[in-house]
Symmetry: C2
Subunit: 424 residues, 2 copies
């Protein structure tokens, strides 16, 4: 029947979207790799009653382990330890040894940063962070906050709660110690292998995929298939136990037959992976010249470690002056066909390539909006061009959505054009 | 006592972090502005039982309205309508008029995109999307999926469920119609004004803020204060009812006295707002030259509509060759002090400015890692420089964290250096 865990992410800043939660997804995936299933991630604000009801809900779903992230700082809105101790029937007490260790960390941090703080203020914050529910195990701080493993009080039943800090680097750094804790280990002892495979399709309608899956359905028993459309890519993720491997293989083969080239990634690699690998394997370098995307394509190409092996650099030519002076697009051309045109996209790709001495060049020019559109050239109109040793690929699109959408979609489209040019 | 809503975000792709949820935060903020409080956002995968338990949990917390996003597509893993109908005691029936309208939308979409699909496959998907719980109100599709307002069955008690589509543009587009629905309007009739104010501090330790707030505490009754540290910025968000305005004003004044310049935003404006406004008001233009951040600063500066009024463009000089050939950094300098140096950061800022004819220039060069570090120049070492009409500001930092962290922190730091140069 497998092992199950539930996750509570605390923080009003997460609930209201001022900060994007990275911990829920990271924990869900780390647990999946361990063979632990997650059904719910709850995001709650920094309020006692709301956190309490979230913990009780998860315990009530029958999970083997509850994991919390956040709410362990020195400020008054950090109340996870208190609430977890309360729910588990274990009131908190000061751990003087832990207090000493945290104090050393905090004062070291302050002095390295050249920050001066009243000793009493420091001491009060440290004391708060050294309160530990009676009988809980302490996980040593990665930052300043310790993690905790809090079993339910004796004589009561319920899952243990693993309390982790909110900063992703601290949470991830503490994960190995958390898994090594005997109570956590025991809670997850029923874990079983959960496999996950991803197929990616480009330029395929979701209803067509739905029809294909409906057609294959009799053979899909035991596979948990989820599909997701984003930025023109259709992602098909399948989870299954080891016994279902033949069913998955049959699905993958049927998808390959049905979609051919549109199934650009049969093995889960992203378009970024494919482009980076193609550049690297063929010893090609790349350069960009971007107008409406303003550097986002260059930023994406340099995302991965080792990008210096193939990315030369790029031009951000936001103004017409920059297109002329920096990228050498002839003023006459800009005047005649306008900055948003197939001709300028091609010129940008060629100039990026030649000015940066790269093998492959990309040019993007468009109207991201919300202003700047016209009858002939509406908001969302983008011209792209990729040029390489084996030829060139131009494209004209009218993209829907907001300014952010148009910019993001343009960058993804450019990645797929690169993929086609380099691997097609 | 106010109105309360609970939110369920569906989708295994969101639960596992393959897609970042934008709907939960958007809805929470839209509700806050209406005067409706949100305590929980639940993220659930595409499984019947998990969605069911999430809906029952929220109804059990006593909220006035439950809102769902996602799970309304044509594929088999889209099961929100079915589960909501079931929980509310209202089995779904086909709405033939709605089926006709969705069919017209889908076939129009297909033909515009040049996609060809078997008529039966289209019809099956459309039929699924036209199933409506008996007695529910239909909200017209923005994309292909209709929204729903599903009251609880007669004779039973519980909040109505507002069912919205997953794509953010569709969800947001449907929001006005959802609010105009009589059942939604009635559910939220107890809403009261909830004010929210934000203060932003730069380069201030969280424990110092904790001490300040602890000191002020006797006067803070009725204010809900949350603090959040991210990328070196400390954000203090306060929510309160109209009666607490004097308490908030006193807090804001006390914070101003305690932190002076470090409180760079007393009115919630972001550093991006402040830099854009300063450039615009002073009629200054800006250009960038980026190495380790690879275009992300230019991408951020061009994020906002109207950026063409002040952003000229930028250079992405990822390779040493690009630094030399594109930005004109002397080969001798690169050889003598290395690409990651104060001298090169200054040269990049100056060259960005002069080559793009801008008033303000920014140069960034550093080691984002994970490779490429040395004893003298460790991973995380970044040199930045901003140059403007009123002088220059250089900075050397050693940033902790991953490659992504170093790149993101460098960009934020550059924004604050621009703020200081332009408004200091």
């Amino acid at each position: 029947m497998g092992a199950h865990a539930g996750i509570v992410v605390t923080g009003t800043e997460v609930l209201t979207g001022r900060v994007t939660d990275r911990n829920g997804p990271w924990l869900a995936e780390a647990l999946r790799q361990l063979g632990v299933d997650v059904a719910h991630v709850l995001v709650v604000g920094d309020r006692l009653a709301d956190l309490r009801s979230a913990l009780l809900f998860l315990a009530g779903t029958g999970v083997d382990l509850v994991i919390t992230s956040g709410g362990l700082g020195p400020t008054a809105d950090d109340l996870t330890t208190e609430v977890v101790g309360d729910v588990q029937g274990r009131p908190s007490v000061l751990d003087p040894e832990l207090e000493r260790r945290i104090h050393a960390i905090v004062t070291g941090l302050m002095s390295r940063r050249g920050w001066h703080l009243h000793p009493e203020a420091t001491a009060a914050g440290v004391r708060k962070q050294a309160m530990v529910p009676a009988g809980a195990a302490v996980l040593e701080p990665i930052g300043t906050a310790p993690g905790l493993v809090v079993p339910v009080a004796e004589g009561r039943s319920g899952p243990p709660v693993l309390v982790l800090p909110g900063p992703p680097a601290e949470l991830q750094g503490m994960w190995p110690a958390a898994l090594a804790d005997p109570a956590v280990h025991q809670a997850l002892h029923r874990r079983t292998e959960i496999r996950q495979q991803t197929l990616r399709l480009w330029n395929t309608p979701e209803s067509e995929l739905a029809a294909t899956l409906r057609h294959l359905e009799p053979g899909l028993g035991g596979l948990e298939i989820t599909t997701c459309l984003r930025g023109g890519e259709l992602e098909v993720v399948t989870r299954y136990g080891p016994a279902e491997q033949p069913a998955y293989d049959a699905l993958a083969a049927a998808m390959q037959r049905a979609y051919g080239q549109a199934l650009f990634s049969p093995d889960g690699r992203t378009v970024d992976d494919i482009v980076a690998d193609a550049l690297q394997q063929r010893h090609l370098t790349i350069a960009t010249a971007e107008s409406c995307t303003g550097g986002l394509l260059a930023g994406r190409l340099t995302d991965r470690a080792g990008a210096s092996g193939w990315v030369q650099g790029g031009l951000v030519v936001y103004s017409d002056m920059a297109k002329r002076d920096l990228a050498g697009v002839p003023a006459e051309l800009l005047e005649r066909v306008g900055a948003v045109s197939a001709e300028v996209a091609l010129a940008l790709a060629e100039e990026a390539r030649s000015r940066l001495g790269a093998d492959v060049g990309v040019g993007i020019t468009g109207i991201a909006g919300p202003g700047g559109g016209s009858q002939d050239k509406p908001v969302g109109l983008v011209h792209l061009c990729v040029v390489g040793p084996s030829g060139r690929l131009p494209k004209r699109v009218e993209l829907p959505g907001s300014r952010d959408d148009v910019r993001a979609r343009s960058v993804t489209l450019a990645m797929h054009m690169l993929r086609e040019l380099l691997t097609g």
